[in-house]
Amino acid sequence: MMISSSDAVGVDLRGVRKWYGAVPAVRDVSLAIRPGEIVSFLGPSGCGKTTTLRMIAGLEHPDAGEIRIGGGLVNDVAPWKRNIGMVFQNYALFPHMSVAENVAFGLAMRREGRAEIDAKVAAAMAQVRLTPLADRRPSQLSGGQRQRVALARAIVTRPSVLLLDEPLAALDRKLREQMQVEIRQLQREVGITTVFVTHDQEEALTLSDRVVVMEAGRVVQTGTPAEVYERPRSRFVSDFIGFTNAVAGRIEAVEGGTATVTMRSGQTIRVPAEAGLAAAQAVDLVVRPEKVELNPPAEARPGRALVSGTLRHSVYTGAVTYHHVDIGAGETLIAMASNGDGHGEAPVLGSPVTLGFRPENMLVFASAV
């Protein structure tokens, strides 16, 4: 028997706010989570991810706005009537119950029959490969095993929505990656609408259908992992998601959708102009290292923006090498080079080099100043 739910429901947040006394935890969150979707809340510590998740669970009451689960307004519905499953950061496994009793708890609260409970618990435990540990106490389990018990306990009741608050934060890197794959598979099998909180951008990109990036109590961007990674809408998002190069510049002119930007070093590049940019504006130019090529071959140069500089140092990290290039006026751009076949030797340190990238990969954001 496999636990699965075909009747997945959507979750809608509209203008949701929450204050703790004078502290605004969530300022204004509007978001539509589609049925069966896995969405992650990503953002720095204190940006309101947990608070938003707890409001969906019903553990906090929003000060303003509407929360709908499956279309029905749940603002004033108690958590035990919402049919949700939640995995807490500390797992919150009941220490006085065995693994099997923990998993059975939600079913017992729903007053299901003994035989039915036993069958469902056995199925859920098999699904997360816990069967041999049924009689152990939570204190006798490893971190990864506890995590799986918490997951089994949360899904065995066939909740409409599964909420996970940094469920992998306590695990070491290898186990974390393994559990990411398992959660993804389980979520696909079961098809539950899932909200996942993390402050690890890699985890968010790996696990989600869509990523919701939050900053200071607000949603700053929502999109697929690729959208959020490739086309961050603000400097904050680009910094938060992945490793970026940033240099300062000033817009000389904007014409026909193309902006001419002078970098502090005096070099000029032409990039697609975002709406709202105007001449004489100070901007940040942001590009990901893997989009920058060191000494591109002549046939690859047409259509590329080119910047010249001096190679300062190269950092070998195994699969790739990062080349740090001084482009003048004390500014540095980093180019990533794959160490796969067909890549020649890196130039000598201190030698002049050229960096090339597609203009559309250079993101232009108004300087914060």
């Binding site: 669970a57 019903g58 553990l59 108690a78 958590p79 035990w80 919402r82 049919n83 949700i84 499953g85 939640m86 807490f88 500390n90 919150a92 496994l93 009941f94 220490p95 006085h96 708890f105 939600g106 609260m109 729903r110 106490r137 204190s139 306990r153 949360a154 009741t157 909420l163």
Partner: protein, 275 residues
């Protein structure tokens, strides 16, 4: 202690400071335990007067307890008062602890302090006050008057351990129960209460002992037919000073040891399985 049982390693001499400390500790333990331990041989004495060491061995003083129904009824009353007062204190204490730990409300800290005052209040003041309040209520010299007075005395102990235990229990357990479909009562009944159990058991033990052995407050509230064991013993000693009191004390000592052993076992095992 263990250091004394082991043969000293040949080359190591125990520093003088350590020896002094060991001697001091032994003296303190002796000072604390001696009066209690002297009671036991006295209870088995065959002498009519309280002389130490006793000159012969007999069980006549234990027989004397049985021969005097007032001791047995006083014991029964004291036990009943202790159980009822502890029971009421447990319910009130747990509910109050939930309010104090899980909720914020105006005057919370002041109220918690007020609940704890019987711990530091001079017992005689409390005794007089309770007697004054209970007279118009018709509770003076009644079982329920006594039991309620003992609730006032035992509640702080229960409340204190319940607040301490509950503060240690992360809120997320209760919240996890809620997300799994448990309403407030079910979450309390199946999750919070079992986790509170060791602390409550410790608090209840204290409360039972405090109530059973209470003297000052009870003295103002007892009367004919409503007499606690400590007061019955005191009354007896005013007229007769023989080893009967030592025999009763010995019985109480044995019962206390047994109770503590049982609770230690319960809580200890609970910790092993639950920890």
């Amino acid at each position: 202690m263990a250091a004394h049982d082991l043969p000293a390693p040949p080359l190591r001499t125990v520093p003088r400071g350590e020896r002094l400390l060991a001697a001091y500790v032994a003296l303190v333990i002796l000072f604390l335990a001696l009066p209690v331990l002297i009671v036991v041989p006295l209870a088995f004495s065959s002498d009519v007067s309280l002389t130490f060491p006793p000159r012969g061995v007999s069980l006549r003083w234990f027989a004397n307890i049985w021969a005097r129904p007032e001791f047995l009824s006083a014991f029964a009353l004291s036990a009943a008062v202790a159980l009822v007062a502890t029971g009421i204190s447990m319910v009130a204490g747990v509910l109050a602890a939930i309010a104090f730990v899980r909720h914020t409300f105006p005057g919370r800290d002041a109220l918690l302090m007020l609940f704890m005052t019987p711990l530091v209040f001079p017992a005689i003041v409390l005794a007089a006050a309770l007697a004054l309040v209970m007279t118009p209520l018709g509770l003076l010299r009644s079982f329920w008057g006594l039991a309620l007075a003992h609730v006032v005395l035992t509640l702080p102990y229960i409340l204190r351990t319940a607040v301490a235990t509950l503060s240690e229990i992360d809120r997320s357990y209760q919240e996890a129960a809620h997300t799994l479909g448990a309403d407030r009562w079910q979450a309390f009944r199946h999750v919070t209460l079992p986790m509170l159990r060791p602390g409550l058991l410790a608090g209840a033990t204290f409360a039972l002992i405090i109530s059973f052995d209470e003297f000052t407050v009870s003295m103002f509230l007892v009367g004919p037919g409503v007499m606690t064991l400590p007061l019955e013993m005191y009354n007896y000693s005013e007229f007769t000073l023989d080893p009967t009191l030592a025999a009763i004390s010995t019985v109480l000592l044995a019962l206390t040891c047994l109770a503590i052993l049982i609770i230690e076992r319960l809580v200890g095992l609970g910790k092993q399985f639950g920890g």
